[in-house]
Subunit: 352 residues, 2 copies
């Protein structure tokens, strides 16, 4: 891709709408000048914000609409009133028409998923989409998927997730053959779901050239960075992510309480505040904001709804990377090999 | 129960065996003098350790065996060589025979579960056991179950878990009618597993007098202390617990790194070390050591395998509480009401 990366933004999405989307885009543009934007939403709201960002304004086209998806509507409701005309739909539509390379929204996750699926359709060979995100680890970062796009997963879907996640890891971590672990539980008696065991033996037998399957990993392996990619079905993945986020917030709260309790602690905190800041930065969920919807005929990124300018800029950065380094092509490549190997395995299974 | 609480210990279980079990029991006895012990294991190992704890020695009977279950054996293997004669089996056997009120082991979880189930049998109306543990929260503690005793759960099992968990909360937190939440995921489109939705409507319709059902909770609600009891099937529960533990360890690591980086940080750390210690205490997994096996005809507690004296004493404390405050009777009471209500609901469902 020699030209600019073209990003379509749902300018009305999220808790703060354009007030975060516009300056967030400006921040991301400062980091990647080879971008241009389509901002979908209410021109009367977007235009004044754009006036403050002259560089961004030059590279932005507004697609006007006054319809915006509400944060708590069901996907079916959102589709009913928001199809064809909401800011979220128009951002996805820009990708569909080939006018943009990626769509980004901080809006309603369920609605974004439903509209993306409805309008962009799934990649060939993929039946269900997935949400993938970066998870900070002791070693750096890992990619965890699915974080709740769908519930339950048969062995084939888990293998698809491995292929899609490893394509994403290849882009983001610049590793030729990322390691992939299957999330499982360690109690010997029950040793995991049957689908997970089956996916494990499929991945092991296949010896993919795209990624290295390292076996089962447990919940505490994610933070250790045991593998570049962690594959799980969406229910457990979503609960793991939120339990970890909850724990991080809980510890931050303990720390705040502890550091305010005595004068020694308060002075100690002041002296060590540089160190605390570095730690907070490392744990800052804004830095890894942006869930990538995988398995679609197009790049769609979901930003957290309550993020700020810095967080939204991270989501735009992720969209940029996904496009600049050909996410879709790489996923398709991985999937094609995967489907091929899977077809052979199934044929062998049917023959036996 | 007017007499002493009688605890049977697998003295050889865990990474450190009797070296932790014996002083751990002594520590717990100092806190609850109305206990007596049966220690199952190698007399030659146990006796010298007991000599150092005269008060404990007076209240301990040794049941000698040289067979011990290895930490990494499969449950089926463990049952084959360890039935009738291993230290783990003999501790469970003491409960079976009515010689002890609870069995505690830091040994192999799968083997302990298999032997407990095989020997003690399930409570009437319960088909599958569960592992429940205390989870530290911002508000105090909550009980989370199942943490991996079995995988998957239909609506009836989830309702059983609610009844068992709330009986445990009534004992440990001394709350007449604990609140219960069902762990679910928040993406609107897929809004949880069908079983979870079904269990939710069963629990809502029932209006149990034993507990208050508050609806769905998400992964980050656990650490907030949103409900006294969090119910989930074992796969997601185990992954959530380990993801949270992993995150806590990861942050502790960040903190150590950050506090050693500059001389200001090091001095700050020294000044604030009382506060750090208080925080570590609060996050200390040893304080909430002890998974309770629920649904059995007997009280069995699993201590972490790698815990120390303090941690093992916490597991003994938990066994003490479970017995002293009639866990089994309370669970049976909750379950009886539950099964009764469930029977009515099913009859109504069949009739409609």
């Amino acid at each position: 891709m020699p030209g600019n990366v073209r990003i379509a933004l749902d300018a009305m999405g999220g808790d703060h709408g354009a007030a975060v989307v516009v300056p967030g885009a400006a921040l991301a543009l400062a980091r990647h000048p080879d971008m241009e934007f389509i901002m979908c939403g209410d021109e009367a709201v977007i235009q004044p914000l754009l006036e403050r960002e002259p560089k961004l304004r030059e590279r932005t086209r507004i697609v006007h609409t006054t319809v915006a998806i509400r944060m708590d509507d069901k996907p079916s409701q959102a589709l009913r009133y928001g199809r064809w005309k909401s800011s979220m739909w128009l951002a996805i539509d820009a990708v569909k028409k080939g006018e943009a390379d990626a769509a980004i929204s901080a809006g309603n996750t369920g609605a974004l998923m439903a509209m993306s699926r409805f309008h962009l359709k799934m990649l060939e060979g993929v039946e269900r989409p997935a949400i993938a995100a970066l998870w900070p680890t002791i070693k750096g970062e890992s990619i965890v998927l699915d974080l709740g796009a769908s519930i339950g997963a048969d062995a084939v879907h888990l293998c698809n997730l491995a292929a899609m996640g490893s394509a994403m890891a290849r882009i983001l971590f610049d590793i030729e053959r990322p390691t992939v672990g299957l999330l499982n539980i360690g109690v010997e008696e029950v040793k995991g779901l049957e689908e997970v065991r089956e996916a494990g033996s499929m991945l092991r037998d296949r010896r993919s050239s795209e990624f290295e399957y390292i076996g089962f990993v447990e919940g505490d392996d994610i933070g250790k960075g045991t593998s570049d990619v962690i594959v799980t079905e969406g229910f457990a993945g979503n609960i793991a992510l939120k339990a970890a986020e909850g724990t991080a917030r809980q510890i931050a709260q303990y720390l705040r309480n502890a550091m305010g309790r005595t004068w020694q602690a308060r002075i100690g905190y002041l002296l060590a505040r540089g160190a605390f800041r570095a730690m907070r930065d490392k744990m800052d969920p804004r830095k890894s904001n942006g869930g990538v919807f995988l398995g679609l005929n197009g790049v769609v990124i979901k930003s957290h709804g309550n993020t700020d300018t810095e967080g939204f800029a991270s989501a735009v950065d992720m969209g940029y990377d996904m496009v600049r380094y050909n996410l879709l092509e790489k996923i398709n490549h991985s999937l094609a090999r995967d489907l091929d190997a899977m077809g052979k395995a199934q044929a062998a299974g049917a023959a036996s």
